[in-house]
Symmetry: C2
Subunit: 239 residues, 2 copies
């Protein structure tokens, strides 16, 4: 059973201001919810149809109709859970290879980037405050569960990058062919906004400019998630 008030409460978490006020986010489906539980996330609310079961977790059993009402998905998938947003780690210093997103706006792109980071074993993604919110239900679902394994830290990128001794990489129009460059196993890879790229203050802090060369004159630019995947692939294959 789920009450009207509970449905209303969950629905409010679609909005960033409610997520921030409550410190909670919503995840759906056996895969995404399962990955979060596997990673040690503790649900504050758990609603599922009778199909879904998980040892050690008691859920509020709901009907398909009730799940449809509370879900953000067009095709609800057995289970919906509300989890606390992990506390931001203030003093976290970049280590190994990490990503920094400077104004990525599209929730689908952000979700895909989190999935790419997971695949390539990148543990931390730093995000500028104007990057899309990773705890938006659309992003959470687009990660397919990868958000359980990648740490998201919203912070002042300028400060973060100014204070690091690691190399700072970015793909820029005046960069050097990534396939020909030495790439280190530690560093921060900055990816920018879909329309405007990397902001001017951050661009000035980039120590190693890269370029993914186009193999056709006049080709459209690459989508930011695609570019992230190609860059991560290049770093990791050499490590």
């Amino acid at each position: 059973m789920i009450s009207k008030n509970q449905i209303k409460y969950v629905h409010q978490l679609e909005m960033k201001k409610y997520r921030q006020r409550e410190g909670l986010f919503v995840a759906e489906g056996p895969k995404v919810v399962g990955d979060l539980l596997d990673a040690g996330f503790k649900p504050s609310q758990l609603y599922s149809t009778e199909q879904w079961q998980r040892a050690g977790f008691e859920s509020n059993i709901v009907t398909d109709e009730e799940l449809r009402k509370v879900s953000f998905l067009q095709h609800p998938q057995q289970v919906l859970a509300v989890f606390p947003i992990p506390q931001r780690q203030e003093a976290c210093k970049p280590m190994g290879l990490s990503l920094a997103l400077d104004g990525v706006q599209d929730p689908g792109n952000l979700g895909t980037i989190i999935r790419v980071a997971d695949w390539f074993g990148i543990d931390t993604i730093y995000c500028s405050p104007d990057t899309a919110d990773a705890w938006n239900p659309k992003v959470v679902q687009a990660t397919m569960g990868s958000i359980a394994r990648v740490q998201m830290i919203y912070t002042d990128l300028e400060q973060l990058i100014s204070n690091t001794s690691l190399p700072v990489y970015a793909t820029l129009l005046d960069g050097n062919d990534i396939y020909q460059q030495e790439l280190s196993s530690e560093g921060i890879i900055v990816m920018g906004n879909e329309g405007n790229g990397i902001s001017a203050p951050i661009r000035q802090l980039v120590s190693r400019k890269l370029l993914i060369p186009a193999y056709r004159i006049g080709a459209e630019s690459l989508n930011v998630a695609i570019a992230t995947a190609i860059v991560c692939s290049e770093f990791k294959r050499r490590s």
Copy 2:
């Protein structure tokens, strides 16, 4: 001006059966329409607001309100054009490096793959008949104009691949680390369906099995467009 009948006619082209019957597709916005005109596509209908102009092309001037009515976009962009779908080239034999899509379903993925192919200078994408239709307005827009430069051929992949002497590559769970393999400058790269991968008959025809290694145990699989980008990047950086 645009009549109600003209609007209705354009709207029908959202459906594959009408596109196939009429042999027409819709493109919108200065970038996508411009790229198609640059590539020599001849519009059969052209509607634009007074903002949009292009030497040598006469358009029906419409108001913002009329454009909003005919457009498939949430935010219409100055111009909408109807173009003939390029005639399929029956006897086309694979040459150089090409892609073959075996049941890619999501229009966004297909659009992104076309954009990736454009970037990496891949001229032809072969598609199984059950792959999403490249002339779907969602796909056309997602290509950001790349569809003007990449030839799309819907055909029986089994027959195509059976008759080629080129190597046939695919990423499969039992494949060999792509970063360690020799990759030829000619060949067909097969990419499969989002949920089910490559169909059994096509899988049997793959001569060189590849694997993009995961760098984290338990990582979610890669999205098909992301995998396509990583594979194309690997092929092209060595060519």
